[in-house]
């Protein structure tokens, strides 16, 4: 069943939509959740919550890129769960490393608690991503959107771990410069 047919089921309020979504994208969303949570039960729960969230917003929504629409919901829900579980202590797993790396883009700035619009930051990040080369952008997103390990990224793109690490490090530096330029960090 293709995506438009699945979305049509949602619009018809046909519960088969969820089964079809689970069949087609269950593994995909699970891998995103598990990269973030490193826990089977929590990841399963987030995937199930993803289907519920999709059910609640379609209609009125009619996503163009259904897979990525689901990916973003799963990522959000998983990260919320991660934060809830690790509210009082440092989180574990791959995501802790991912967050630490991102922190290097903003650390030592004097404005870490400043108020800003998340929407504007999102737009700013997107414009930054478009300035990167395809390879830099791909590796950045596999690491910081999908929270994949360096080893997995290196295999995905036929690169060495060391190459991936160097590219990530350079891209983080560029991001830091971009955020400084845009006034998010001072």
């Amino acid at each position: 069943m293709n995506d438009s047919q699945i979305i049509a089921l949602y619009w018809q309020r046909n519960e088969a939509a969820i089964a079809e979504t689970n069949q087609k994208y269950g593994a995909y969303c699970y891998s995103i959740a598990n990269n973030i949570l490193s826990n089977k039960e929590d990841s399963d729960e987030c995937v199930n919550d993803t289907w519920l969230r999709a059910w609640n917003v379609i209609p009125p929504q009619k996503p163009n890129a259904f897979r990525l629409f689901l990916a973003k919901i799963t990522r959000n829900l998983s990260f919320d769960k991660f934060k809830a579980k690790h509210a009082d202590k440092r989180g574990g797993g791959e995501l802790a490393l991912v967050l630490d790396e991102l922190e290097s883009c903003i650390s030592d700035s004097s404005d870490t608690e400043a108020e800003f619009s998340l929407k504007e930051l999102t737009e700013s990040i997107n414009s930054f991503l478009h300035t990167l080369s395809e390879r830099e952008c791909n590796i950045f997103l596999r690491r910081y959107f999908y929270a994949e390990s360096v080893a997995e990224i290196s295999i995905r793109y036929s690169l060495k771990d060391s190459n991936v690490q160097v590219i990530l490090s350079r891209t983080r530096k560029k991001l830091r410069e971009h955020l400084e330029k845009e006034g998010y960090i001072i």
């Binding site: 293709n2 689970n22 069949q23 087609k24 994208y25 269950g26 593994a27 995909y28 969303c29 699970y30 891998s31 598990n34 990269n35 089977k40 990841s43 399963d44 163009n64 890129a65 897979r67 990525l68 990916a71 973003k72 959000n76 990260f79 934060k83 991912v98 967050l99 922190e103 883009c105 903003i106 700035s109 404005d111 870490t112 400043a114 800003f116 998340l118 930051l121 999102t122 700013s124 990040i125 997107n126 991503l129 478009h130 952008c137 791909n138 997103l141 910081y144 959107f145 999908y146 080893a151 997995e152 295999i155 995905r156 793109y157 036929s158 060495k160 771990d161 060391s162 998010y184 960090i185």
Partner: protein, 448 residues
């Protein structure tokens, strides 16, 4: 700003950028062969990406008298899961009539491996005509082969993507050999690795009372490399050697690059040049060209063809040709500036399990029609009239514990044809080994 806010902001990355991340690079090895698909679809396909990331994937119970190759059975309800789904197959009236060869008790039974890519699209290639998707596979449907070898893979990834069966010394020796072929002084090479640093080694030396007493695992290095002027040689975790030229090694006047080049005549001219000039570096006496070019959709919505160039050693013997084509190849990444990367792909075929009886391509096609295939294509098999090509290939990734042959069917997907006539050919696999040696013959096995 907090790191969590930054992570959340990345959630709204543009869909087009996220889709692009799923297109992989130029590996042609079949289970990692992943080339671009139309931007409106999931992009990539692969049999062998992220099993390690799928801890919920059920394991196949071990079968004492059998060789358990894989991890997933498909013929029992309890193993159907969110990653692998059996879909309903209409009953077919055609049945295979080829008579199996007498059963050989000495050959262990095999279990198919279907390593999930975690839903990252499917394996398919775009072209205007199937004739454009010719990678120079020496196998031909006319070949009457009764048996083909199956090998155990001694170089299997562990969960950390390491292959500890390959020693540091082996990696360094290969690096020196490649350096020697380049005419470099192998004695003065300074070889580095990504293992633990000297300070840590000193710590362990004290702790364990001598370097030779440190557990070998502690000193494990995935990659070794050496740099001489503009050349960098690396040998990676799977004993794949690479030569990087930075800047690129220029081609003579009149020769064009291969990556991002739509012109077949220019590409093949460059391929022929490389074949003659780099024969010795490749370590081949009679290199054969394997040039594969399919299409991708650019951001301007136009179709662009790009090629990947491989060489494999020619041979008289048919089985040897198949083995050479599927294993131990050399690939060249060539931009318009010149030769950028040369990769020497290695597989360890020292542990042969046996020569297994194989079915013909015709019988495999009947099995395909009967739904006994493996695929990452998210659509059902559209029908025999859409089968446009068949090839015989081996799976050869370090994720699999065995190397075994499959028939690879290129099936035109009518629902995916674009307005400009560009077609998408989805890949469906049927095991080439006779069914009596397979514990989990697929029934329309979709995994993704």
């Amino acid at each position: 700003m907090k790191k969590e806010q930054l992570f959340e902001a990345i959630n709204e990355a543009d869909d087009e950028l996220l889709e692009r991340t799923e297109k992989k690079t130029d590996r042609r090895n079949i289970w990692i062969k992943t080339l671009a698909i139309a931007a409106c679809f999931a992009i990539v396909a692969s049999f062998g990406i992220s099993y390690a990331l799928m801890p919920n994937l059920p394991k196949q119970p071990s079968l004492p008298e059998e060789t358990t190759i894989g991890t997933i059975a498909t013929d029992t309800p309890q193993v159907t899961n969110e990653i692998i789904q059996e879909t309903t197959v209409p009953p077919v009236t055609t049945i295979a009539t080829e008579k199996p060869q007498p059963y050989d008790d000495n050959l262990p039974k095999l279990t198919l491996e279907t390593d999930s890519s975690g839903g990252m699209g499917f394996q398919g290639y775009m072209a205007y005509d199937i004739s454009e998707l010719d990678a120079g596979n020496p196998w031909s449907e006319d070949w009457k082969l009764d048996k083909l070898p199956v090998y155990k893979n001694p170089w299997l990834f562990n969960s950390q993507f390491e292959i500890k069966a390959i020693s540091l010394e082996e990696k360094e020796n290969l690096l020196r050999e490649i350096a020697g072929r380049l005419g470099l002084d192998t004695e003065s090479l300074e070889i580095k690795n990504d293992g633990i640093n000297n300070e840590t080694i000193n710590y362990y030396e004290k702790k364990y009372g001598g370097r030779d007493k440190i557990p070998k695992d502690y000193l494990y290095a995935n990659t070794v490399w050496a740099e001489v002027d503009s050349i960098k040689i690396e040998v990676d975790r799977s004993l794949m050697a690479e030569i990087w030229f930075e800047p690129e090694k220029p081609l003579p006047d009149g020769y064009k690059g291969i990556m991002s080049n739509n012109e077949y005549n220019e590409v093949i001219k460059t391929a022929e040049y490389i074949k003659n000039e780099y024969k010795e570096l490749m370590g081949m006496k009679n290199p054969q060209i394997s040039l594969f070019g399919d299409y991708g959709i650019g951001q301007d919505d136009k179709a662009y063809r790009s090629f990947s160039l491989y060489f494999f050693e020619g041979a008289e013997d048919k089985t040897e040709q198949i083995i050479n084509y599927n294993f131990n190849t050399v690939s060249f990444a060539v931009s318009d500036e010149g030769i950028w990367i040369i990769r020497f792909w290695n597989s360890n075929l020292s542990d042969k399990v046996g020569d297994y009886p194989i079915i013909s391509a015709d019988t495999a096609k009947v099995l395909l029609q009967n739904g006994q295939y493996l695929t990452t294509v998210p659509e059902g098999f559209p029908g025999a009239e859409y089968v446009k090509k068949v090839e015989l290939v081996y799976q050869n990734t370090a994720r699999y514990s065995y190397f075994m042959p499959y028939y690879e069917f290129y099936v035109e997907l009518p629902s995916m044809e674009r307005a400009n006539g560009l077609k998408t050919y989805g890949i469906y696999y049927v095991p080439a080994i006779e069914e009596q040696y397979i514990t989990n013959m697929p029934k329309c096995l979709y995994f993704n």
